[in-house]
Symmetry: D3
Subunit: 307 residues, 6 copies
C-alpha cells in the first residue's frame, strides 16, 4: 500500500504518459457539463435546506476518499464549487490520476457553509462517477501490465450519453488510452459495412475517402485478418476471439507487416480475469467497454472540518 | 421464466404503478439529451465508415436483448433514430418497464442502412445505460417485495451528472420510486445543517419557510428519531443503521404518530443481500444510491435482419 | 413611514424568514436570464447612441427608487452590469426584501459612462419587474398579517413564461412563500383528474406513486374536504369559496386531523380587499396568481451623479 | 358589443394594419420561449398528477375567454401543445388581434387527456400574459383614436426581460405599433448622451455613424425641439411634457419641417385618462411603457368538453 | 507607407468615426461565437499534440501581421486565449481599425506554452477572417474617398451565416458603415414586394406599419426613383445601374427633396475599379456585398519569442 | 461545357468518392447553424417588408445559379425554408457536388410568398458561401488531376469560426478531402512542439499516447523528413518547400518506407497556378487553407416564377 497521491507521481504518471500526466478535458466541455448538472440539482428554488444554516456561517470541508482508487474529475469539481459560489476557495491536493486510499484528502474547500453544503452533491457526483471509471481503467492497466507491458488498454464509444468527453479524460487519468472519440475520428469496418464489398475494396475505399484516418477492420476469423493486413489496414479488431486465436492472429499480422505498422486490438468479453491472457497473446491493444459503461463509482465524501 | 414483455404487463405494472405504467420523462429533456449525444458521437464529419455502404441500400435491423432485465430508454432511442434520419421507421414492441429475456426483440428499425448503422451506438448507449438502471431497480424491488410488500425502493440524488431526468424515469420503469429530484424539492435536514439549531427548531423553521414541502430529518440515533417525530417531520432518514436498530426506530415512530403520517426511510450501505432485512424491519422506504450510480449496463445489441 | 432599507432589516426579515432573509435564486438561472435579456436589448450592433459619449468618459450613476415598495432583482442587476462591462464597479446598498421609499438609493455604479448607459434599461427592466412582484406580495402579506398572523401568502404557477425562477425569488423577497415550482413538485388533484376515480382512490394512488410529495386536493364543496382529509391528503385547496364557506371547511379539517398535519389553502378571486376575510376565516395558506401574473412594475430609475 | 372575433376582422384589422393583420413573431423565437417554459413547468419528473388519469383517456377541451379583450399568443399556445404531445390536435378559431368576450371559444384541443392537462398551464400563461398586453394596447389605441385618428400608440423597450419579441408581437396584435426593438435599431439621444456635445453635433454625428437609422432627440424644453428639427432629427421625443406644451412643440416642428418628415412623440406619464389630450395636442406617436411592463393578464381558461 | 498602427490613430479613426473609433460588437455575441469555435477546434479530446510540450513550459508569442491591412477581431482573440486558459496574459497593442504592415506586432501572449499553441489556430481564424473583411472595407472606403468624400461605403446582409454581428463590427473597423442588420431593422421594398401595389401605396403602408423605420425603395428605372421620392421614401436603392444612370437619378432626387432627407444608395456589381465612378456620380451610399461575402483573409501568424 | 448537374453524376462523383457522393454534414449541426442564422436575419420583429405582400399570396420561386461552379449547402437551404415556414414545399433538383452553369435551376420553392421572400437571403447566404468553397475546391482538384491523378487536395483547420462542419462538407462536395477536423483528430508535430525533444522521441511519445491516431511531422528540411520516416511517422508535412524540394523529399520517403505507408503532404503558399507542379512532384496530399478561408462566394439567386 502506498500513500495517497504518491504512487501516482512516482510510478504511474512517469511510466507511460509524459511526466506531467494525461491531458485534462477541454474547459468548455467542463463548463457546459457543470452548468447542466447544477441547474439539475439546484432546481427552481435552490437548496431549500441550506436556509437553516445562518447566511454568515463560514467553514471548511474536505473531499475525502473512502476507498482505494484513482482520482478523476478535478476540473469538474472546481467548476462546481465556483459555479455555486465564486467566493469559495478550494485548495486542491491530489491531481487527476493520483492514487487514493481511504482517508486521502483530495481537496479542502472553505467559505460560506451554505454554499459548501449546496455544492456538495454535484461535486461528489462528478468525482465519484469519473473516479470510478479511472479506477476500473487502472485495474485493467495493472492486470495487463504484468502479462505484457507492451499491451495498452483502450476505452470504447460505449460511454454514458452526453459525458463522453469527461469519461475519456477519466480513462486517461486511470492510465489507459482512448479509442476513437466519435464516428468521425477513424474508420472501423464491420461485417455490416461489407455487404457485397470485399475487405480489400473496403479498405481501399476508406483510405481514399479519408486520407490520414486510421482504417481498422473487425475480424471474426483468421482469414479476414490476413486479408485486412494485405489490404493495408492500420489495425485489426479481433472480436470475441479466445486468447489462443488472438495469438494465432498476432502471428499472422507480424508475418505480413513491418513492426509497429499494424496494430492488433482484442475486444469483446474481456474481463479483469481474462485480460492478462489476451495481453500475453500479444495484442497491442485491448479495448473494454465496461470501463465506461459499467464502472461502479469510487466512494468519496465531504467531511466538515471542526475548528 | 416468462415470455419477454409479458411479465411487465400482467405482473409488475398492474401491481403497483397505475396500469398504464410509470410516466415517461418530459419530451423536452429527451430531445436535449439526444441532441447532445448525437453531436458527440457523429463528430464533425459524421460517420466515416458509413460511406462504405451504398447510399441507396435499405434494410431492417432489430434491437435485441442479450440478457434478462427491464427495458428503459424507449423515447431516447426513438428520438435518436429520427434525429439521425427522419425517414427511418421504427416499430417499437416492448414498453419501458417491460421484462426482457435474451433474444427479446425490443424494436425493429427499417430504412437506409447507412442511417441505421450510424444511429446504432447512440441508441444502444441510451438503452443499455437506462435499462441497466431499471434492471437493478427491479432487483431491489423484487428483493424487498417478498420481505415486506409495503416497503418501497427509492432512488437518490446520486445520479450521473446531466442525466438525472432520464435516470429517474428509468428507476420508475424498474418499478421503484423517486426520492426528491433536486435540492429544491424537499427539505432534508442533516447533521451539518443543525449547528446550534435543535431538530425541533430546524423542522419548525423549514415548515414555515417552505409550506407544503416534505421535511425529512436524517437520524443517526433513536433519540433523534423521537425528536424529529415530535417536531412534526414528514419522514425520518435512518442513516447507516442496522436492521435491528431500524426496527427499533420504526416502533418509536409508530408509537408517536398516526398511521401513514410519518415515513421511515432506511439508507446507507443497503445491498441486494441485506435489503430484505431492512424491509422486514418495517421501513416504509429504502433508498439506494447504487441503483443510479453503479448499475452495470443491460446488454442489448442491434442485429441486421437478412431478407 | 420608515427609512429606506430599515424596515426590511428590523421588521420583516427578522419576523418570518430566518434573519438572513429569503434565499436568492440559483446563480445559473440568473446568468442565463441576463444573457438572454442583454442579447435582446443590445441587438446585433450594440448601443448605437452610446457612440456619442466619448469612450474615455467615466462617471457614476445611482439606481434610485421613485416609489414605495420592496426591492427584488439585485443579482440580475449585478449580472447585467458586469455582463455589459466587467470593469463597472457596483456598490449595492439595499438587499432584496428591503423597503424602498421615493429617493432610496439602491446602488451606485461607477465606470465608463458608455457602459452605464448601455446597461441601464436591462438592469432596470429586471429590477422594476421583480420589485413590482415583491411589492405586491408584501401588500398581500401585510393585509393578511393583521387579520391572522398564522396565515401565509403563496404564489402560484401563473408566472411569466421563462421567468419563474426569478419571480418566485421575488415573491420570497416580498415576504410571501412559494407554492409548487413545477408540475413535478407536488400532486394537486383537480376535478379533471378524477373522472371515474374517487378522491380516496386518487389520494392513495398519488401517495403510492410519489412517496414524500405533498398531495393536495382541490375542493369545491365541504363534502369533498371531508373526503380528502379522510383520504390522507396533505392539504386541501378551497377554490373560489366565500370566506364563510372557507371558515366552515377549516372547522371540518380541524375536527378530522391532528394540528398542523393538513393545510387549508384558499385560492381563486382573492384580492387585497378580501384577503383579510379569508385569513380571518382560518386559512393556513392563501394563494394569489395576481402576485406574479398582474403586478405592475415598481418604478426605479437611474440618475447620473454630477461631480 | 360585437360577437367574439368579429370586430377584429371587420373593424380593427382592416382599418390600420394591412387586412391580413399584423405579423406574427419569428417562429424561432416562439420555439425557444416555449421550450424554456415547458422545461420550467414540467420539471424533472413531469406532471405528477397526470398519472391519475388513465393513459388511454382521450378527450377535448376548449380555451375560453373569461373577459373582454384582445387575443395574442396563438403561436406560443400551438407550440406548447405540440411540444407536450405531438399527437394533440388543435382547432384554432380566433386569430391574434381578434376581439374576445366572456365565453369566446379561442381554440379546441383534442387528444390524450393527460397531455391536455399537462399543457394547460403553460399554454394559458402565454395566452393570458400576451393577451393582457394586447388588450391594454387596444385600450390605448381606442382612447387615442377618437381624439386624433392620426396619432399612433407605441410600445417601448420596457418589456419583460427575455420576452421582448413576443411582447412586441402582442402589442401589434392589440393594434398598436412598435418603437425600436433594441439599442441597435435607432439612435435616441438623451440628456445623458450630450455632455459637452450640442444637439446639432450629436445629430450630425449619429447620422454620419449610422446611415439610414432613425435619429430621435429627447427634449425637455421647446428650445431643444427647435434645435433638434434644425439639426435634422427624424423625430423628437417630448418627455413628461403637459399636453399644452406638446401642442406648442408640435407647432414648432410643423413650422420648421416638411409634412411627415419629423415625427413628434409624446412619452412619460401617459395614462388611459390623459392619452386623448396628448393625441389632441397633435402628437404623431404616443409611447407607453405600461403596455408591456404593467399590463394585468387577460383571463382565459381551459374547459373540458363533456361528450 | 505609414508605421503600423499609426495611420489608424491619426488619419482614419479621427476623420470619420468619433475619435475613439467604431464600437465593438456586444460582448455576449463574442462569448458565444468563441465558445462555439473553441468547441469545434479542441474536439472531444483536446489538443493531442500539445501533450508533447512539458506542462510547465512557459513562454511568449506574438501575433504578427504578414501583410498590409486593417485589424479586426481583437475581442474574439482575447476571449479565445482566456477561454483556453484563464492564466494566459495578453498585451494587446493595436486597436481594431488600426493599420497593419508586414511585421506589425498586434499582441503578445505569455503563459503556458501548451495553452498558447492550443489557442493559436482559433484566435488566428477570427483575426484573419475579420481583418480580411476590415481590409477590403478599407480599400473600398479609400477608393471612394478620393472620388467623393461625402459618399459612404456600406455592407449588406450577405454575411457569413452565424457571424453577422462580428462581421458588421469588422466592417466598422474598416471604416465603412452598416446597412440594416436584419429584416427587422428597416423596410426595403423590392419588385417582388410590389405585386399589384404601387410604390406610393407600398411606402405609405410601410410608414404606417413601422413608424420610425427607414423605408427604402429599390429602383431599376429613373421613373421609379421619382415615384419613390414623391411617396416619401427615406432612401432609394439603385440596383445594377451604370454610373451615368446613377448620376441622373441623383439629380432627380435632389430636385424633389430637401437636402439630406432622401439618401441615394448604389448597389449591385460594384467593384474596387468602378466604385469611384459611382461615388463621383453622387451616390450617398454604396453598398458592397463582397466586403462580407468574398473577402480573402488578412494573413496574420503567431511567432514564438525566443528569450 | 456540360449540362448543369450532369457532369457531377457521370464524371466526378463516380470517379473518386463512392458513386453516391460524399457524405452530408450531420443533421444536428445543420439545424443548429440554420437556427442561429435565422435568428440573426429575422431579428426581433421579423421581416418588416414582407407585410406588404398579402398574407394569402402563394407563388413559386427558383434558386438559380448565375455562374459556373459546384453546389453545396442543400441541407442548410432546406432547413432554412422549413424553419421559416413548415408549409413551404421545396423540389430540390441538383445534389451537393453537382456542377452548375449560369441558369441552372437548383431548386424550386412553392408556398406563401411572404415566407419565400423572408427565407431568401438566409438560404442564399448558405448556398453561396458553401458553393463558393466547393467550387474553389473543385478548381484545385481539377488543377491537380491532370498533373498527377494520385494526388489528393485537402482542406485545413483554417475555416470560418463556427462553420467548420459545414465547410468541410462543402470541401467534400467539391471533390476534395478533409484533413483533421480538430486538434483532437490527429497529431501534427510542429517545430514549436519539439523544444528539447527530437523528432524520434516526439513521434514515439505521440504514438504511445494516442494509439491509432495519425502522427504527422512538419518538416522544413529534407533531413527532418528522413528522421520522421525513421521514427515511424504516418505522414510528413512539407511546409513552404519548392516543388523540386518536395520531389527530393518524396524520393527520400519512398526509399525509406513501404508503398502507401507514409503520406507526403505539401502545404504553404499553394495556388491554382503552382498546384500542378506540387502534384507532379509526387505529393500524395496537397493542403490548401484558401479553399475555406478565402473562397469568394458562388453567385446564386432566387427568381420568382410568373405563372
Amino acid at each position: 500500500m502506498t500513500d495517497a497521491g504518491t504512487r501516482a507521481d512516482t510510478d504511474f504518471l512517469g511510466g507511460t504518459w509524459p511526466s506531467s500526466g494525461p491531458p485534462d478535458p477541454p474547459l468548455e466541455a467542463v463548463r457546459a457539463a457543470v452548468a447542466r448538472a447544477l441547474a439539475e440539482d439546484l432546481g427552481p428554488l435552490g437548496d431549500l435546506t441550506a436556509l437553516l444554516v445562518p447566511a454568515d456561517d463560514v467553514g471548511r470541508a474536505r473531499v475525502v476518499s473512502r476507498a482505494d482508487g484513482v482520482l478523476a474529475g478535478r476540473l469538474c469539481a472546481l467548476e462546481t464549487f465556483s459555479g455555486v459560489d465564486p467566493t469559495l476557495v478550494v485548495d486542491w491536493r491530489i491531481p487527476d490520476g493520483g492514487w487514493l486510499a481511504p482517508g486521502s484528502v483530495v481537496a479542502e474547500v472553505s467559505g460560506p457553509m451554505r454554499s459548501i453544503l449546496t455544492a456538495e452533491r454535484t461535486a461528489l457526483n462528478f468525482l465519484c462517477h469519473l473516479s470510478g471509471i479511472a479506477t476500473l481503467a487502472r485495474h485493467f492497466v495493472d492486470a495487463v501490465a504484468t502479462a505484457n507491458p507492451a499491451t495498452r488498454v483502450l476505452d470504447t464509444r460505449k460511454t454514458t450519453p452526453g459525458l463522453r468527453v469527461l469519461e475519456k479524460a477519466a480513462v486517461r487519468a486511470g492510465g489507459a488510452w482512448n479509442h476513437r472519440a466519435s464516428l468521425s475520428d477513424a474508420v472501423l469496418v464491420k461485417d455490416n459495412h461489407l455487404g457485397r464489398l470485399g475487405i480489400a475494396e473496403a479498405v481501399a475505399s476508406a483510405r481514399r475517402s479519408w486520407p490520414g484516418a486510421m482504417v481498422e477492420v473487425e475480424c471474426d476469423r483468421p482469414e479476414q485478418v490476413s486479408e485486412a493486413v494485405e489490404a493495408g489496414a492500420s489495425a485489426v479488431l479481433l472480436d470475441n476471439m479466445t486468447p489462443s486465436l488472438v495469438s494465432e492472429c498476432v502471428a499472422l499480422v507480424r508475418a505480413r507487416s513491418a513492426p509497429g505498422t499494424v496494430l492488433v486490438e482484442a475486444s469483446g468479453g474481456i474481463t479483469l480475469a481474462n485480460a492478462p491472457a489476451y495481453a500475453a497473446a500479444g495484442a497491442d491493444l485491448i479495448s473494454v467497454g465496461a470501463i465506461t459503461h459499467s464502472a461502479p463509482i469510487l466512494d468519496l465524501g465531504l467531511d466538515l472540518v471542526e475548528d
